[in-house]
């Protein structure tokens, strides 16, 4: 558990694991800003479905992506376990965008050692699996380690960015809601 970030290889390290449509995913913990419970999500018209809407996070308006829809899975069923993980997505231009990711449930903080991480298997040339940095093994589970920067396509990210800008420009700063 106690492992140095500097010495760890790119795919090894601490991950915040969560579940999505029955599968387990991992997010690099240093990219996680915050984990919040389900907030009231304000749906923004005309946006694609994978953008669940925007939320007011302690006065900050941030877009929330429904990762299920973004991954082409079934839409998520909101329940009390549903959480929003606030992450910082690095853009190619050096910018970063704070985005909420809607997941079924957060599980754990897992420190994956190098030997527990496998490279992403190549299925086919047509399928882009670059958004998965590797496959980690934790006990009897398989955890897909996401590269959050690539989890959404550029087009998708642009939409999200714009929503974030719109949200932050149009929305009044408010007191945070837990």
């Amino acid at each position: 558990m106690v492992a140095s970030v500097a010495t760890a290889p790119a795919s090894a390290g601490k991950y915040l694991t969560f579940s999505l449509a029955g599968e387990h995913y991992g997010l690099e913990i240093l990219r996680v800003q915050e984990i919040v419970g389900l907030l009231p999500i304000t749906r923004v018209p005309r946006l694609p479905e994978f953008v669940a809407g925007v939320v007011n996070l302690r006065g900050r308006i941030i877009p929330v992506v429904d990762l299920r829809l973004a991954f082409g899975l079934e839409g998520s069923a909101m329940d009390e376990r549903t959480c929003v993980i606030v992450v910082e997505v690095l853009r190619p231009g050096g910018n970063s965008t704070i985005t909420g990711v809607l997941v079924d449930a957060v599980s754990d903080v897992v420190d994956f050692a190098e030997e527990t991480v496998e490279a992403t298997p190549e299925f086919s040339a047509d399928v882009d699996t670059s958004f998965i940095k590797g496959v980690g093994r934790a006990e009897d589970r398989v955890v897909l380690l996401l590269d959050i920067d690539r989890a959404l396509s550029n087009a998708q990210m642009e939409i999200v960015e714009r929503a974030a800008v719109d949200g932050s420009s149009s929305g009044e700063p408010e007191e945070g809601v837990s």
Partner: protein
């Protein structure tokens, strides 16, 4: 015409005809006899007349002799004695002549000969009185006066008187002879008439007898034939009738025996029926008692069921409250779970912060980890508790459902008990009616018993009647025999033994035996001990306690 006459008329006519014939024959004979009798009496009378005449003649002669003696005697005493004898003889003569004249006067009316001699007799009587007596009296007078005095004149006078008396006496004697002659003629005539009458009577009687016997025989033959023929037919009919009566009496006897047997069987069946009825009555009473007890028990059961329903409702409420409590607990648990979730999130955030802090956050990371594990444990505990609560909620719900079901069942039971009460009441009423029906059946059976006894008595009576009938048939046969003997004589003896062997005595005995048995049955049926229903249905409180 002869056939349509009655028997009395026929016999009357027959015997009347015979009687007429007899009357004719007898009348003719009687007539002849009377004639002969009359003639005989005439002869006798005539003979009497002759005797009287003879005596009168003798008296006349006597008087003449006495007068002669009186004229010749000198003694006055002797003269007086002779005078006295003369007077006596005179009176005898007068008497004789008086009777003779009377007889002749009677005979003279129907007899010519008597009429002829009647004047002679009258003359003789009158001559004696008028001429003979005065002469004698004068002669006696003279003789008395002349006594002792030898007077010639007197003697001449006396001789004259004697001569005159002699002459008159001769005259009277001649008349007497005339009368005797007439009387002899009369006797001769009567004897001749009697002889001729007797001859005629003999011939007449013979002819009449022959004719009468022939007539009577013919009549007797016809009448006997006309009587015996129908009697023969009657005998044949009576013989057949007595045979039929005899066989009918045999049939009646066997029928009465069968009747007696049937009555006997019936009596036995009635006895069995009576005892069965007694048992049934006992069972019915037991039924009624049991149904009353069952009624009480069902009432208790109904009350118990109602109480059960109320209790179940209370229980249902209690379970509902338990469920509500569980719901409240579940809410609390949910709150706890949420708190654990939030704590978990906080711990995760703390871990994230610690990770950001690098080495400096290592201790904090450990704390965060501990907090997170606490949160997870409390979440786990909340989850377990929630599961338990859910379980108890489910159980409570099931309890509510079950108690509702139980309440429904209890209500059903109450309803069923209600129905059972009703049914038991109906059973009790039915038992009551059954008991009444059995009572009526008992009455009917008693009546049937009486009827059976009546039947037995009738069978006995009809048996004795058939015996009597048989005896009468025998008597009839004997009477027919008597009739046959009467009509045909003793030669037809064999007919009287018709069906004498048909006797009814044994039948009467058998019927008597049946009747006695029936009376015994009846007595047994009436004195049959009333059985205790408990013996028939042993049902005590232990059995009833099972309810």
């Amino acid at each position: 015409m002869f056939k349509s006459w009655s028997l009395g008329l026929r016999l009357g006519v027959g015997f009347g005809a015979v009687a007429i014939i007899m009357a004719i024959v007898g009348g003719a004979a009687f007539n002849d006899m009377r004639t002969m009798d009359r003639l005989t009496r005439e002869i006798t009378e005539d003979a009497g007349i002759a005797d009287d005449t003879m005596e009168a003649k003798f008296e006349i002669q006597t008087q003449r002799l006495l007068l002669m003696e009186a004229l010749q005697t000198d003694d006055a005493a002797e003269l007086s004695a002779l005078e006295k004898e003369l007077t006596e003889s005179d009176s005898r003569y007068d008497e004789l002549m008086k009777g003779l004249v009377a007889k002749l006067e009677v005979d003279a009316e129907g007899d010519e000969l008597a009429a002829e001699i009647l004047p002679a007799a009258q003359t003789a009587a009158s001559t004696h009185d008028e001429e003979f007596e005065p002469v004698i009296a004068q002669a006696i007078q003279l003789a008395r006066t002349a006594q002792g005095a030898n007077d010639a004149k007197a003697a001449a006078q006396l001789a004259a008187f004697d001569e005159k008396a002699d002459a008159v006496g001769q005259e009277i004697v001649a008349l007497m002879d005339e009368i005797e002659t007439g009387t002899d003629a009369m006797v001769d005539a009567a004897a001749t008439a009697s002889a001729s009458t007797a001859q005629r009577a003999v011939i007449q009687s013979a002819v009449l007898l022959i004719v009468g016997v022939l007539l009577a025989a013919t009549l007797a033959w016809f009448i006997t034939r006309s009587i015996t023929r129908p009697i023969d037919r009657v005998i044949a009919g009576l013989t057949a009738g007595s045979e039929q009566v005899s066989s009918a009496s045999g049939q009646v006897a066997s029928a009465s025996q069968q009747l007696a047997e049937g009555a006997s069987e019936q009596a036995a069946n009635l006895e069995e029926t009576s005892s069965s009825l007694e048992e049934m009555a006992g069972m019915t009473r037991q039924n009624a008692d049991n149904s009353r007890q069952a009624d009480a028990m069902t009432r208790e059961a109904q009350a118990a069921a109602s109480k059960g329903v109320a209790s179940v409702r209370e229980m249902s409420g209690a379970i509902g409250r338990i469920k509500e409590a569980s719901d409240s607990t579940a809410k609390i648990i949910k709150t706890i779970d949420e708190i654990a979730f939030q704590t978990n999130l906080l711990a995760l955030n703390a871990a994230v912060e610690a990770a950001r802090a690098g080495d400096a956050g290592k201790g904090f990371a450990v704390v965060a980890e501990e907090v997170r594990s606490l949160a997870q444990r409390s979440a786990e505990a909340a989850k377990n508790t929630a599961a338990l609560i859910e379980n108890s909620q489910d159980t409570a719900e099931q309890g509510v459902a079950v108690s509702n079901e139980v309440a429904g069942i209890l209500e059903q039971i109450a309803g069923s008990v209600d129905k059972v009460t009703q049914l038991v009441g109906e059973i009790a009423a039915a038992s009551e009616e059954q008991a009444q029906g059995i009572e009526q059946i008992n009455i009917s059976i008693a009546m049937m018993d009486r009827v059976t006894q009546g039947n037995a008595a009738n069978a006995e009576e009809s048996a004795s009647a058939s015996e009597e009938l048989s005896a009468q048939a025998r008597e009839l046969t004997e009477m027919v025999g008597v009739l046959i003997r009467t009509v045909r004589g003793d030669k037809t003896e064999g007919v009287t033994s018709v069906n004498r062997s048909q006797a009814g005595g044994s039948v009467t005995g058998a019927v008597h035996a049946h009747t006695d048995r029936i009376r015994a049955h009846a007595a047994a049926a009436h004195t049959a001990p009333v059985r205790n229903p408990e013996e028939v249905i042993p049902l005590d409180d232990e059995d009833l306690a099972d309810f």
